[in-house]
């Protein structure tokens, strides 16, 4: 009996210990990031560059995804509501879905791949090549130098990129509607306005802000955790993308439950 249960119990015990150690590391890392906020002299001058790298350079991929999402939404909405519901509801469905859900979530997931992976691999490489130790010996707080500007840039830029994505998605839905569906511009706009609420935009941007925080912070944490070698950097990058994508979906449900 003992022999049968000892292995799985040992596995459960080990996993619980590893999990709690991981939470402990994450907590310490978060505390060091909060402490580093006061070191504005270090991270302040790096912020604009990070906003450009993480935010502005992400706009093309966000726009690409949003444009095709808008097209598909318009076509699927028209397919779904044939007959029973007036066709101008296509505008309502495209706008509402882009603002509330697909704009922030698809942008968040795309940026988890682009930004999260970029941060984790860059910081992970710096870790394994002792560049982070070098920062320390040059009297820099590596968290203030590497983490704070990236997280700050993510928190500021994710909502901006998301806003672009939403606008492009709705525009793509409109262009699709007037060209491929039997819908005029006034009808499409009527649909958009019928269910529009400014709270939806606030809700969407709050979600995007939280996604920016999660993607950049998890990317930094994973990169700092890389121990040695190229394989460790690869693992850190994968971990950053997987964990931040999962957290985006969890946060999506969390904000829906709390704010709607």
């Amino acid at each position: 009996m003992n022999g049968v249960w000892s292995a799985p119990l040992a596995w459960v015990g080990r996993s619980a210990l590893e999990l709690s150690a991981g939470f402990g590391r994450f907590g310490r890392f978060a505390a060091s990031a909060v402490r580093a906020l006061s070191d504005t002299g270090t991270w302040g001058r790096l912020l604009v560059d990070q906003m450009a790298r993480l935010g502005v350079e992400s706009i093309p991929i966000a726009i690409f995804i949003a444009a095709f999402t808008g097209i598909v939404l318009a076509l699927q909405a028209s397919y779904t509501i044939t007959g029973a519901v007036p066709l101008y509801f296509v505008g309502a469905l495209v706008a509402k879905t882009m603002i509330l859900e697909l704009g922030p979530v698809l942008t968040g997931l795309a940026l988890a791949g682009r930004v999260g992976a970029n941060i984790a691999s860059e910081i992970g490489t710096m870790r394994v090549t002792e560049q982070i130790d070098a920062l320390e010996t040059l009297a820099y707080d590596p968290v203030a130098y590497l983490v704070v500007p990236r997280v700050f840039a993510g928190v500021v830029m994710f909502p901006i990129v998301t806003a672009f994505a939403i606008a492009v998605g709705i525009a793509a839905g409109w262009i699709t509607s007037i060209n491929l569906l039997d819908l005029s511009t006034p009808e499409f706009v009527r649909g958009v306005r019928a269910f529009f609420d400014t709270f939806d935009v606030r809700y969407s941007l709050i979600k995007a802000t939280s996604f920016g925080l999660v993607v950049t912070f998890v990317g930094c944490f994973s990169g700092f955790g890389a121990t040695s070698g190229a394989a460790a950097v690869g693992r850190a990058t994968t971990q950053a993308v997987v964990v931040s994508s999962m957290l985006i979906l969890v946060l999506d449900a969390f904000w829906a439950a709390v704010l709607l």
């Binding site: 090549t129 130790d133 070098a134 320390e136 010996t137 040059l138 009297a139 820099y140």
Partner: protein, 249 residues
Amino acid sequence: MSIRLWEVRKSFGSRAVLDGVSLEVGDGETVALVGFSGSGKSVLLKTIVGLLKPDSGAVFVDGKDVGALRREELYALRRQVGYVFQFAALFDSMTVAENVAMGLRRVPGITEEQIHERTEESLRLVELEGYGPRYPGQLSGGQRKRVGLARAIATRPRYVLYDEPTTGLDPVTTAVIDRLILKMARELGVTSLVVTHNMESAFRIADRIAFLHEGRIRFTGTPEEVRGSGDPIVRAFIEGRPELAQEVV
């Protein structure tokens, strides 16, 4: 103004890397720390600047207990200590000049003009004048090490720690680096601790040589005393004859 390690112990898991190391590097002195691969030399260097915390024992730099320093005090101390990494650890997204200027940007009250002048001067000192706009990826191994050295000395630290500064370099570049280490000590009066495997290099640059073995300092002496040492482990190391060490085991 000295570096003093007292009974420093450091383990990774069940493996004791440093097992009660005591060592002193006097003011203006150059000490070469030698020992077999994996003997904990780099770990010892990292404890001096607080990159690693000893499990027990203490490290004093300038009379200050490194482990007891608050964060700001530790950064102030680090501004007094230059660290040359084994693989240079240059910031690969920055130019050579930006790398060298990194430490200078932490000096309170320094102007951009002074940073520029000091950067040029440090690159001149390591014989890399005009290399400022290049990126680390465009440099040879020896040049990268010299940039690492320029970065470490740019703030004119009172201490410089060298982690295998000549490993993997050809004899001529090794001699160039050795000459630079001597220049730092003689012209800038820095106190130096040099981790190396290269005994020729150690004999050339060191006032004293310390031999780290099985987590402890097994032997300390002048280059002449090391040459004349009868300790079989030390002899095995300097003569490259493992059979001498095996006789002891």
